[in-house]
Symmetry: D2
């Protein structure tokens, strides 16, 4: 017998509540302003006298994207505020920062999946109404550009859009918002400042960088001695070659001039000091004070990866919808979008590239918890300086 | 070297477009009415002077749900219209019906995943603003109730909400919309009518049901003879028992009285004839004319399964957010929602239960493509009768 | 022009590697023992002379589940080992514990999604080979039972299977493994011990529980005074009623006898002290020392939720595949599985139910970072006591 | 009160089964050969005396990929067999073909999601054991290369791997399997043959291509006349330009020489006739006989898109794990993989590019169901010619 009827206890439990809705106060639809949200679907095709069923899906999907972009901006602004205000110095705020950055990750994951819905529309269905949309184009999404700026996509690495600066595609007020978002400190720059303050970098303290350099070159030297003693074989030759490569690699790591050069070319994006901080956190991620910072760095990479996956999914969908024709905004569509799926749009590219500089655990400078207590003791700020964000 | 710069060809391809945005016409933000959609986030906590960060997520998530509910209703109404108008008789419309039903499936799959975003909010974060929401409650979602009614959740199987009829929780206009949605033919009833017309059921034609009954009982009879001849063992006894069960099962299938009885109890939901049609489509799903109808039945089951998974995910989230306390609408929250995750809310439960009546392939009545051409030849309607849905 | 050809730089970068495969050493297929893994698909239907295409999918899907179960057990055992050995006292190990528990979460999320693959098989396709599988049944998955035991599903809350103890369905060696897994400390019990040691609970220290009790009843008292002063209205009456309920709720929280009673009934699962620890971590989750422990508690709830979603997805699939008939193992299939989707199988149910006892922030006992330094200073163990897990 | 105890009816329903496991016959673990599958995890790091926890995840993940690759090959081979044997001419087999191709889509979707599990391992965790794996490399996955070949990745468009032919990275027996898979008809070629037979293309029948050409150029001509009559404005000029582009585009479509040229360059992959068939199915997808073929074309595009997403996800993971260093197989890792995420690896690229040639509905050659009955009447083969695949 199938289970259709509740037993008494269930029936009882499920009806215990008091019906508060009759008592006044706000109700669901008003709270969510559904009169605005679910009435905002006006089909251009219908206005032009040729209602096309699938245009509704097109509208709703893009509105859902914009809703989520708004939420991402909300989280992003709150995190940036914590950094800007200096509240981040009170390490009690790290959970908040990390949670909100992680929430952005989860939202982006949803946004990548969300393409599956629009993909139920075929190129032929889209063709029936796409002319009505011209010249509206996803390129004109203000929120998406703000989001890119606030995370840290640099103006000078942007692919131009139809040979024009991206900002020229927006009207006065919006263009100003974009300009101002470029001038505000972006997440990348704020994280950079924070990394520069990583405990353990102090020259008069643990002096991580100097110790690391010494250890690495000592390690390489020992390795060389071992190889030299080997009988002459092809294998020995290869190992020596490999060692030479390694030495070059690490020499470059400790060469600040080279760093500045890569910075100027856009191949690195954060300061030399910040890079050191990131590597310090990587190597000592298990120390109590670095556990959450390490998660934060991972989450920042996740954002980068997911944004790039989002772009790639977008490219795939566009290829399917319009082949290699121009988009509704007149852009070269597929080719323009494809050019944005590249490392130039990866903001935290340095965090990825640090994987190139990993070393054996025994080369890492030793930490003694009795001596280096700074990794076990968090900092806080007194309330006069770091007042809680939400309370004011 | 990392790939930061486009080669010439790429640079060229990505800039070929004409910038149409400057030429007038609709632009992205206006098209999507973003002035309404992304300004509809008003935090009650902020109005009450205690802005809580996470309330924004709560609002956006629910608005995203409502947007997608609107889209589901859009698809559902269009499909129901094709059935109601009789256009479904022109089998050219089956692709449209199936595609739109499948789109609902894909949307529901997204909605199930979408819980992951709200789950980034902890019970403690929710506690900080939940009192401001009272008595608003998800129970008051008009669109979700419409959706249930239009698919076919029957009024008399609904779990009461705080001992009141679900419709009493809505205001005048909304209550009327709900009542009228109950009176309109729901998807279940429309599918039932369509199944009743399944080719092959005609008593003066292929007469599937009669042939099937004969074959099954002949098959069981042969089986019995085989078993009887076996030496007396425990295994024989068990096989005989099993056979008896089988016989009872199939006897019940061909007993229209029993069907009417189960209908009256809500354990079956479609007519006896429709049940026969569904089984005919199941068994002959590979015949050209049944391929798409079979997909349709599968998609209907998917909708049911996903709605029920959505409900279950909702239950899990509520358990996490408020434990076993009352919800913001005063409902007994967790327990109320848990009671809705049951077969009583499964609309197409008959399609699932048909799996109980499967038979070996050689028991199925044989079809000869030369004789039974109806399974190879689709029907259409002349244009005067079945004019295209979108053109009028 | 579409992009088919690499530019020179790309062509160069993509070919820089040395081909090491020719130099000896392990290769991919041997490393993964693919000779075992991808040759283990033997179709019973084929052995019985009636090869059914879809049986291959059935086998591969279940093997994939078992592979992931093995991985979950691997993580689970390593985490349990850290707790059992006392390494958890060195807070440097918390990142490891949390990361591995989180990995289990991610795997379970995949396993829930993985049903989508098996759902491409219809009931009719399954019918064609299901008789060949009898009496094999998913109920006989040793690894899944081990996993339940090691997380902490208690023996006495298990739903019997065909009126027999679950262990009686396994053969000698397997039955012993199950028994021994029941005797080893499960994750629930280890987490309980760890929670009991939460800093801040000490009676001669911060004494969280006593302070909390005092604050709550003082808070309720003040509230009462406020209400009493109000003019007599229906609203006042309701508020008073609500207050009374609150008082009862919190009185029960501080009643150890009631806790013991609920424990004995299985409605609570962890000790009174552990419950206090969990609430302490909930309330002070932003303190540096509790940030990762709080994430851990969230991840444990995620495991519970996902296991229960996995069960529910399983139920849905079974309903679709076999209706309400018996499963291949002879179990009552659908109904048995449905009965396991209940709170009795939720291991960390206490963590969910704590949401019932949340309070306004100003009722929480105040912490002064100058005085209560224990929340800013992590503990470590010297190496003689807490040697690194992986090195021995 | 929480729901821990079953009511009587539930308790009854869940225990109704007979315990067949005690009766002999195959059991779960033997059926799935778990003795092989879950014992195939041997850690190289452990063999070398330095057991690294995360290597287990690395192994299990790759084994899970290989299991699913095996399933994809199983489906792929069965579909190719239906095409090769000519069974596809019996349109009753289209459901089977479409269902299995769709199953591959669903599996690939899972495989894309599956990266989330491996992404729980950080670059630092990987570093600890990656040297032990050398020179094993994912590049050596035989099944993945077979899969590419059987779908239709052409040998001459493959990116070389460390300047060597991909097949040279495999040992004798495997290399032969690869060579033979290149020689067998791949899915692309089989679909091409099938498309060439699309009903409606016959020169002495409906003659779709000739009718289409006539309609398009007539349509363009009418458009031109309309534009010419407009007053001279910038808009007129632009419309005329646009029209000229359109004319060029369609002139190229009907130019078989150009098609042959693009074929030779690898920018098109299917014959001119097959291209016509695909466009015929696109335009008349709602006709009963084309509904399932249209779904099939969509599913083939899905496979392409998902394979390319899989590749892109792989690139992202590798970037994260090893930065821009060489992979374990000595490949240039990141850069090699990145070069495979391009249209050259898209097999069904023609189906995407057809979106470039869409036209207004009123330009499509008219079909009259009374006259053109071929779109309503499916074909079958008599049993002597097309015996059911599974029965022999």
């Amino acid at each position: 017998m199938s289970k259709l009827h509740l037993n008494e206890e269930e029936a009882d439990d499920s009806q215990k509540g008091i019906n508060k809705a009759s008592k006044g106060g706000i109700i669901y639809g008003d709270y969510l302003q559904l009169d605005k949200v679910v009435t905002a679907q006006v089909l251009q095709s219908e206005l032009k006298g040729n209602k096309i069923h699938d245009e509704h899906l097109f509208i709703v999907t893009h509105q859902a994207y914009e809703l989520w972009f708004k939420q991402i901006l909300w989280e992003l602004d709150s995190v940036r505020e914590i950094f800007i205000s200096g509240h981040v110095r009170d390490e009690r705020n790290m959970l908040k920062v990390n949670t909100r950055i992680h929430r952005i990750v989860v939202i982006f994951r949803l946004l990548v999946d969300q393409f599956s819905v629009l993909e139920t529309m075929t190129a032929l269905d889209f063709y029936d109404f796409r002319e009505y949309l011209s010249p509206a184009s996803g390129f004109q999404s203000l929120q998406f550009r703000l989001l890119e700026n606030k995370i840290g996509v640099p103006d000078n690495l942007r692919v131009p859009y139809n040979r024009r600066h991206y900002r020229d595609n927006f009207k006065g007020h919006e263009s100003e918002m974009l300009l101002s978002s470029e001038k505000e400190p972006c997440l990348l720059k704020l994280v950079e400042k924070w990394l520069e303050r990583t405990p353990g970098l102090e020259g008069d303290g643990f002096n991580f960088w100097k110790k690391l350099e010494a250890n690495i070159f000592e390690g390489l030297c020992l390795e060389k001695k071992k190889i030299v003693k080997m009988p002459d074989t092809e294998e020995k030759e290869e190992m020596m070659e490999e060692l030479t490569k390694q030495k070059e690699l690490f020499t470059s790591l400790f060469d600040i001039k080279r760093h500045e050069h890569l910075l100027s070319k856009g191949e690195r994006r954060i300061s030399y000091k910040a890079l050191q901080g990131a590597l310090m956190i990587y190597f000592y991620r298990e120390e109590p004070r670095f556990q959450v910072p390490f998660q934060l760095l991972s989450n920042l990479m996740d954002i980068d990866t997911l944004m790039t996956k989002w772009r790639y999914n977008h490219v795939c969908m566009v290829h399917r919808m319009i082949g290699s024709k121009a988009g509704t905004g007149g852009s070269s569509g597929y080719h323009y979008l494809r050019s944005t799926v590249s490392d130039r749009y990866k903001v935290f590219v340095d965090l990825f590239n640090l994987a190139t500089f990993l070393i054996p655990r025994h080369w890492m400078p030793k930490l003694d918890p009795n001596e280096h207590t700074f990794l076990f003791t968090a900092e806080y700020c007194d309330s006069s300086y770091c007042s809680s964000e939400d309370s004011d």
